[in-house]
C-alpha cells in the first residue's frame, strides 16, 4: 500500500460526495412495480436476498397490501462462480414448485450487473419451462422511473407478437410509475368515453388498488394479462403519460409502424388536460367531448379561480420523481405558486421545468424550506416538515403514514380539482 491517503484535502471538493437522506429509489424497485402490473406475474430480482426484501417491505407498507416478489438469493459463493444461469434456473424451479406464474419478470441489481451475468442467455435456456421477460436494471444507474420504463420496453420487445393488423379504436395506455392505481383506472375510463378499447401496460389499477381479494395470492393479484400483452401489436393508438415512458411509446411505434403515438408529459392542470383532449379529438375526428368532461373542465376553471388567492401567494417545495414533480409544479404554477423543485435523479424532463429545479436529497430539501409554507414529498418529508413547521402533502414512494394511496386521483380535470383544493385547504389552515 502506498502513502497514506490525505483525507483532509478532500474538503475542497465542491460537489457533495454522498447522499444524506436520499430521495432516490432504485431501478430494480421500478421494475418490480412494472411487473406487478401484469396478471399472475412473479417479479424475480436477480441479486442478494436483501434487495428483494427491502423492496417487498417498502411496497407492502406503502400499499398496505401483500407484494409478490422473489429473489435469486445470490450469495458470496455463487456471486463468484455462477454466471447467473444456475441461480436463475434454481429460482425458477423453486418458484414453479409452489405457483404457476403466467410470466416471470427477471431483472438485475447492482451486484449482478457488476459481475456481468448473462440474463438473456439464462432466459433462453429456460424458455421451455417458463415464460420470462428479462431486463437490466442496475441500481447504480437511473432510478424508479427508469426501472419501470426499461421493464415496459423489455416487455414490448420480448412479448408482443408481430402483426401488421391495426385496430384504430384499440388504445395501449402506458402510464409512468408515479400514477396511482386509481389514476390509471380513471384514465382508462376517460378514454372509454370515446369508445376506445383500452389496455394499460403495466396496469396497477386492479392489482395494487387495495381491493379485498378472494385469497392471498403469491403472484400479482391483477393487471394486464400476458395473453392481452401478446396481442397488443394491433393497437392503433399508443398513449404514453410522463417523460420517463416516452421511449416506450416510441419503441412500440418503431416496432409497429402502422400505429399512432401520442405523448403527454403531464395530465395535471388545465393546459395539460386541454392538450390531452385536443389530441384525442384530433385523433378521433369527433367535434365534441362527452358532457361529463365539459362539466369537469368548468369545475376546474372555477377551482383555479377559487384557489389562486391562497396558492398564488405561496412558496412550495416539491421533492419527488422527475415526472411527478413536473406535473405538480405545472399545475400549481397555473394558479401562481412559487415552486422550488427537487428531483430524485437526472431526467430529460428537467429542461422543460419553468421553476427552480435541482437534483437533490432531503438535506438539500431541508435547506430549501426556509421561506416556504409547504412541502410536497414522500413520507421522509414528514420529519423535516414538522421540524420546520411547514404544511405537508405526502406524494410519491414511500408513504408509510397514510392509507388509501392507491385511491388518490389527481389527474385530468377532475383530479386536478382535488389536488388544487387539497393544497389550498392545507395552506389555509397552516
Amino acid at each position: 500500500m502506498g502513502a497514506s491517503l490525505n483525507l483532509k484535502s478532500f474538503k475542497a471538493t465542491t460537489l457533495k460526495p454522498l447522499h444524506i437522506n436520499p430521495l432516490k429509489l432504485s431501478q430494480p424497485m421500478g421494475a418490480t412495480l412494472a411487473f406487478l402490473g401484469i396478471k399472475n406475474c412473479m417479479p424475480l430480482m436477480h441479486g442478494a436476498q436483501g434487495c428483494a426484501s427491502f423492496t417487498k417491505v417498502l411496497f407492502t407498507r406503502h400499499f398496505n397490501d401483500p407484494i409478490a416478489i422473489q429473489t435469486t438469493a445470490v450469495n458470496d459463493i455463487t456471486a463468484v462462480i455462477d454466471g447467473g444461469e444456475k441461480g436463475i434456473s434454481e429460482a425458477i424451479e423453486n418458484i414453479t414448485k409452489k405457483v404457476t406464474p403466467d410470466l416471470v419478470g427477471l431483472f438485475t441489481t447492482g451486484m449482478t450487473e457488476t459481475k456481468g451475468d448473462d440474463i438473456k442467455g439464462a432466459t433462453l435456456l429456460l424458455k421451455e419451462k417458463q415464460k420470462m421477460v428479462y431486463v437490466h436494471t442496475p441500481d447504480f444507474e437511473g432510478g424508479l422511473e427508469s426501472g419501470w420504463s426499461l421493464s415496459v420496453q423489455a416487455i414490448i420487445s420480448q412479448l408482443i407478437a408481430p402483426t401488421t393488423e391495426c385496430k384504430h379504436d384499440k388504445v395501449l395506455l402506458i402510464p409512468n410509475v408515479n400514477l396511482s392505481p386509481i389514476e390509471v383506472e380513471k384514465l382508462k375510463e376517460a378514454l372509454e368515453l370515446f369508445d376506445f378499447d383500452v389496455l394499460a401496460l403495466p396496469d396497477l389499477s386492479d392489482s395494487l388498488d387495495g381491493h379485498l381479494g378472494v385469497k392471498q395470492g403469491a403472484l400479482s393479484s391483477g393487471g394486464i394479462s400476458v395473453a392481452d400483452i401478446e396481442k397488443l401489436g394491433n393497437a392503433g393508438l399508443i398513449i404514453s403519460i410522463g417523460h420517463s415512458v416516452k421511449k416506450c411509446g416510441e419503441l412500440f411505434k418503431e416496432k409497429f409502424a402502422q400505429s399512432t403515438h401520442l405523448h403527454f408529459d403531464s395530465l395535471m392542470g388545465l393546459e395539460a388536460c386541454d392538450a390531452f383532449y385536443a389530441k384525442i379529438i384530433e385523433y378521433t375526428g369527433s367535434k365534441s367531448v362527452p358532457n361529463t368532461v365539459k362539466r369537469w373542465r368548468a369545475r376546474l376553471q372555477d377551482v383555479l379561480l377559487d384557489t389562486h388567492f391562497v396558492i398564488g401567494k405561496s412558496n412550495i417545495v416539491i421533492a419527488d420523481e422527475p415526472d411527478s414533480v413536473y406535473a405538480m409544479s405545472k399545475a400549481l404554477q397555473e394558479v401562481g405558486a412559487n415552486i422550488k423543485a427537487f428531483i430524485a435523479q437526472r431526467s430529460p424532463i428537467q429542461e422543460h421545468f419553468t421553476c427552480d429545479i435541482a437534483v437533490g436529497d432531503f438535506e438539500d430539501v431541508e435547506y430549501a424550506l426556509d421561506g416556504a409554507q409547504m412541502l410536497i414529498a414522500n413520507f421522509h418529508g414528514e420529519r423535516i416538515a414538522h421540524k420546520h413547521h411547514k404544511a405537508l402533502i405526502i406524494r410519491g414512494f414511500p408513504n408509510y403514514e397514510q392509507v388509501g394511496i392507491g385511491l388518490r386521483h389527481n389527474i385530468l380535470y377532475e383530479g386536478s380539482c382535488h389536488f388544487l383544493c387539497e393544497v389550498n385547504n392545507l395552506l389555509g389552515h397552516h
Binding site: M1, P66, N94, M111
Partner: protein, 448 residues
C-alpha cells in the same frame, strides 16, 4: 475485506442450540424460495440505534434508499439524532469502474466537517465488496486523521441472512469499540443490554424499573445507545441478552475476553418481565438486591393487575391463535396468557429449535404450516382472535374473527408491564370491532 473464516465460525456458533444436533451450519438462502432480509439489513438494524454516530452505507442506492427511517427505534440523545437519517455514498457506474475509495474518503471528510459525530459506522455492501474497495484502509486513514472511531462493518448482503449480519455487527463493535475507554467509576451492579433496539420505546418500559432496583445500565447494543457507553461495556458485570439469539456469539466472546457472564431474558408479559428481573438480580447473587427486586416486582405486578382488571373481564374465555416468528412465538403467547386469554396454538414456522422448545411449555399446540393449519385450528377450537403478520388478515376475515397485526412495524410498545396494557387495549379493541364480521359479508348481488 469480508472475513470468510469469521462468517463460518459465526454460523457454527457453539452457543446455538441447533448446532448441537445439526451437522451443517445455518443454511444458505434458496433461490426463488427466500424471504427475509440480508446480512446488511441485520447489521443496520443492530447498529443504527446509536444516535450519536453517523451510519454511512458504502454502496448504490437500493441498500439505504429503501431502508432508512423505517424503524421506530427511539432515543433520548440530545444532539442531532442520526437514527432516522440516511447516509449513502451512492456508488455509480463511474465508481464501479474506477473504484469507490475516493468517494468514500470524501464522504467521510464531509460528514466529519458538517456533522461532527462521535463515531462513524461504514457499511460494506455487495457492490463495494465485489469491486474490491479497500474500505479498511480508507477508514483507518480517516480515523487517524480525524481522531474519532470509524468502524467498518463487513456485512455485505450476499454473505447471508439478517441474523448473520447482526452477528457481524456485534463482531465489529467488539473489535473496534468495546474496551477502548475506561469509565470514571465502575458500578457493582452494572449490566449491558444486548439485542434490544428500543423499538417503540420497549426498553424504556423496563429500564427505569431496573434502575429503581439499583442496577445500572452501563451500555446497550444498541437501543438508545451511545458510543462512549459501548466503549466502556467491558466494565459491566453482566450481559443481558434481550430476545435476540443473534448476539450470543458476542456475549460468549465477552465472557472469554472480559469474564462477563450472560443471561438471556424476555420482557414480554408480566411473568416473563418478572422472571427477567429475577434472572438479572440472581446472577449478581446479592441478597439485598434480590430482596429489593422482589419488593419492586410485587409492587409493579399489583399496579398492573389493578390496571388490567377491566380487561380481564372483557377477555375472559377468549381464545387466540398466534402466528409470528422467532421468540415472539412464545413471548407474545405468554403475554396474552397474562391478560387472561387462552392461547390455543402458536406457529413455529420461523422459530429456532430453542424457541420451539420454549413455545411448547407455554402453548398446547405448535404448528408448522400456517396456510393449511390455521383455518382448521380456528374452526376446531372456535378461536376468537388471530394475532399474526398482515398476510394472515384474509384468513381472519374469511373466518370472521378478530385480527391483531403483531408485526415489528407496530406503533406502540408491547414490552414489559406497561406494554402489556397496550396489548390488552389492542386485543380488546379488535375483539369488539364489528369490522371483521362486516367486511366479509356477501354483496347484494351474490348468492349467500
Amino acid at each position: 475485506m469480508v472475513n470468510t473464516k469469521l462468517i463460518k465460525d459465526l454460523l457454527n456458533e457453539s452457543a446455538c442450540s441447533h448446532n448441537k444436533t445439526k451437522k451443517s451450519s445455518c443454511d444458505k438462502p434458496k433461490p426463488g424460495a427466500t424471504s427475509g432480509g440480508c446480512a446488511f439489513e441485520g447489521a443496520q438494524i443492530s447498529l443504527f440505534p446509536y444516535a450519536d454516530a453517523v451510519h454511512l452505507v458504502h454502496g448504490p442506492d437500493t441498500c439505504l434508499g429503501a431502508s432508512w427511517e423505517t424503524r421506530a427505534t427511539l432515543t433520548s440523545y440530545e444532539g442531532e439524532n442520526n437514527t432516522p437519517l440516511g447516509y449513502c455514498t451512492n456508488v455509480t457506474t463511474q465508481d464501479i469502474i474506477f473504484g469507490g475509495d475516493k468517494k468514500l474518503g470524501e464522504a467521510l471528510a464531509y460528514i466529519i466537517e458538517h456533522k461532527k459525530p462521535k463515531a462513524i459506522f461504514v457499511y460494506e455492501t455487495c457492490v463495494t465488496a465485489m469491486i474490491g474497495d479497500n474500505i479498511d484502509y480508507t477508514c483507518k486513514c480517516a480515523e487517524e486523521q480525524f481522531g474519532i472511531p470509524i468502524v467498518v462493518v463487513h456485512s455485505p448482503g450476499f454473505v447471508g441472512s439478517k441474523n448473520l449480519g447482526s452477528r457481524l455487527a456485534g463482531e465489529a463493535v467488539l473489535d473496534a469499540l468495546i474496551g477502548k475507554k475506561e469509565p470514571e467509576n465502575v458500578h457493582p451492579f452494572g449490566i449491558n443490554l444486548i439485542g434490544d433496539y428500543n423499538v417503540t420505546g420497549d426498553m424504556w418500559q423496563y429500564k427505569p424499573i431496573l434502575e429503581r432496583i439499583g442496577i445500572k445500565v452501563v451500555a446497550t447494543l444498541s437501543g438508545d445507545g451511545r458510543i462512549e457507553d459501548i466503549q466502556c461495556a467491558h466494565t459491566a458485570k453482566l450481559n443481558v441478552i434481550v430476545c435476540a439469539k443473534s448476539l450470543v456469539t458476542l456475549c460468549r466472546k465477552m465472557q472469554e475476553r472480559f469474564n462477563i457472564p450472560y443471561v438471556s431474558v424476555s420482557f414480554y408479559g408480566k411473568r416473563d418481565t418478572s422472571n427477567a428481573i429475577r434472572s438479572i438480580v440472581n446472577a449478581f447473587g446479592d441478597a439485598e438486591l434480590i430482596a429489593k427486586a422482589e419488593a419492586i416486582i410485587a409492587e409493579e405486578e399489583a399496579k398492573l393487575e389493578e390496571r388490567l382488571r377491566p380487561y380481564h373481564v372483557m377477555l375472559k374465555g377468549k381464545k387466540a391463535i398466534l402466528n409470528t416468528g422467532g421468540n415472539k412465538s412464545w413471548s407474545i403467547a405468554s403475554a396474552l396468557q397474562d391478560i387472561g386469554i387462552e392461547v390455543v396454538a402458536t406457529s413455529i414456522q420461523k422459530a429456532t429449535e430453542e424457541d420451539i422448545a420454549i413455545a411448547q411449555t407455554y402453548v398446547p399446540i405448535v404448528f408448522k404450516s400456517p396456510a393449511t393449519e390455521q383455518p382448521r385450528l380456528i374452526d376446531e377450537h372456535k378461536v376468537d382472535i388471530l394475532l399474526a403478520g398482515g398476510r394472515s388478515l384474509y384468513t381472519a376475515i374469511k373466518k370472521r374473527i378478530a385480527f391483531v397485526d403483531v408485526n415489528q412495524e407496530k406503533k406502540v410498545s408491547y414490552g414489559a408491564y406497561g406494554g402489556l396494557e397496550n396489548l390488552a387495549i389492542d386485543v380488546c379493541a379488535a375483539l369488539h370491532n364489528p369490522v371483521f364480521k362486516l367486511v366479509g359479508r356477501s354483496a347484494p348481488w351474490e348468492q349467500a
